[in-house]
Symmetry: C2
Amino acid sequence: MSTVYLNGRFVPEAEAGISPLDRGFLFADAIYEVVRYDRGRPYRLAEHLTRMREGLEAIRIAATPDFFGPAGEKLLEANGLADADAFVYAQVSRGAAPRYHAFPPAGTTPTVFAFARRVDPPPPPEGGRAILLTDERWGRCDIKSVMLLPNVLAAQKAREARAIDAILVRDGFALEATKANLFLVSKGVLRTAPNGPRILPGVTRGAAIDAARKIGLAIEERAFRVEEMFSAQEVFLASTTMWTYSLVEIEGRPVGGGKPGPVARMIREALVEEFRGARV
Amino acid sequence: MSTVYLNGRFVPEAEAGISPLDRGFLFADAIYEVVRYDRGRPYRLAEHLTRMREGLEAIRIAATPDFFGPAGEKLLEANGLADADAFVYAQVSRGAAPRYHAFPPAGTTPTVFAFARRVDPPPPPEGGRAILLTDERWGRCDIKSVMLLPNVLAAQKAREARAIDAILVRDGFALEATKANLFLVSKGVLRTAPNGPRILPGVTRGAAIDAARKIGLAIEERAFRVEEMFSAQEVFLASTTMWTYSLVEIEGRPVGGGKPGPVARMIREALVEEFRGARV
């Protein structure tokens, strides 16, 4: 039985209850973060906290994102994950109140919920398949909100197609996957969609760009079209839970010569090294 | 203290708790309906149930929407609303499960939550003001899901502008408001956006069209541009909680000659008559 964090208390998961009038449940009125920990040490915590603060500001929830820190460490310990490769998920909603769309009365307390879990084993080293789906998400994908139903439906379609993920396509541009950013390597240049309202400003996206720059790669933050993936040397995903992951097939057609490429591997190695080195 | 319905039980609101791992809370993985009752008799219940069934099918939650019926009536009674003008809100989520985007294991039980409340007093009879906002919603607004954060943010902006609601505009078309469909009357023709992925197929939207047809009005289901509202004879909202409500000002400019018009009034009277007459 795992222990979760809810509004300042550490409780067994089965005993944790939130009001069904919580606006996170009724309105998707909540944001979240996922921080990865190497044996208790968080990876790029400051960037996660900044993004969380910006998300709270964007949707105007008055809460201070001070969760990851002592509370996060305690949560890891309580779940026997203090020495593991694990993550902490934390969510802040606008709280429970009588159901009206506009903000609830002053004094409504935001709900803060968090849980910890061991990082899943990495997917197979031979690379993965992806499908293409129309991007049905809302207009503010840069906010890490729980507006995730389109991601859910796309991830399920990917699973049913025995793919690792779905690439979301808007106006012909391959923007990102359901829970990872998307990169390609073409003519020696690393490309990914620019930050903006259409994608999540992924922490590992930024870390991958940092790593690529150190390796000496040219970087271009410019959205690419679906067909550009098929002529690229490499196509890969990047996320905090997978680091990088090479795609070798998209919609049944090979990409990257049908095997994982060296850029994804070099970046992944650099990220893992940084992650392990984050331990002071 | 109100009584709510949660997974087959009637419990005091303060005692109702759902797991914070409920997918309604984590992923906006849920749909809902709001049915209005005249002294215990539901209005157009069959249409609500059909829409709920279609919503569940669209997002593939395996649940039967048999909530509104004896349980809905019991909920009204338990809250002293059996003789009132009231509504029942019911929500079905995909249930609680370890957090992965794709669907949870078979056997995960959907969460069914409902509450009842007296219908709010109607807004002032002199008509209301609206603001215009870019429609930031996802691509499946026809599904009555809890993907409502953009509606929340827009409703809050409307309140701060002392407006009754915000009209959501996509590609220049004024589609609907945050919780109501949108109509105009131009050259004697009643117009509203056609059903499709960009708007909610409102039950009262359909009822208003039925009523207008009986009155003998020509009806055109075709989206209109923002500027067409300013040359219209009337602009009004339609929803189950307000019936129709005339807009007299949009973004500070008068519409409909600055006063409620006869078509909105005639339709509202017809809807109220149908509602009261629904009592058999």
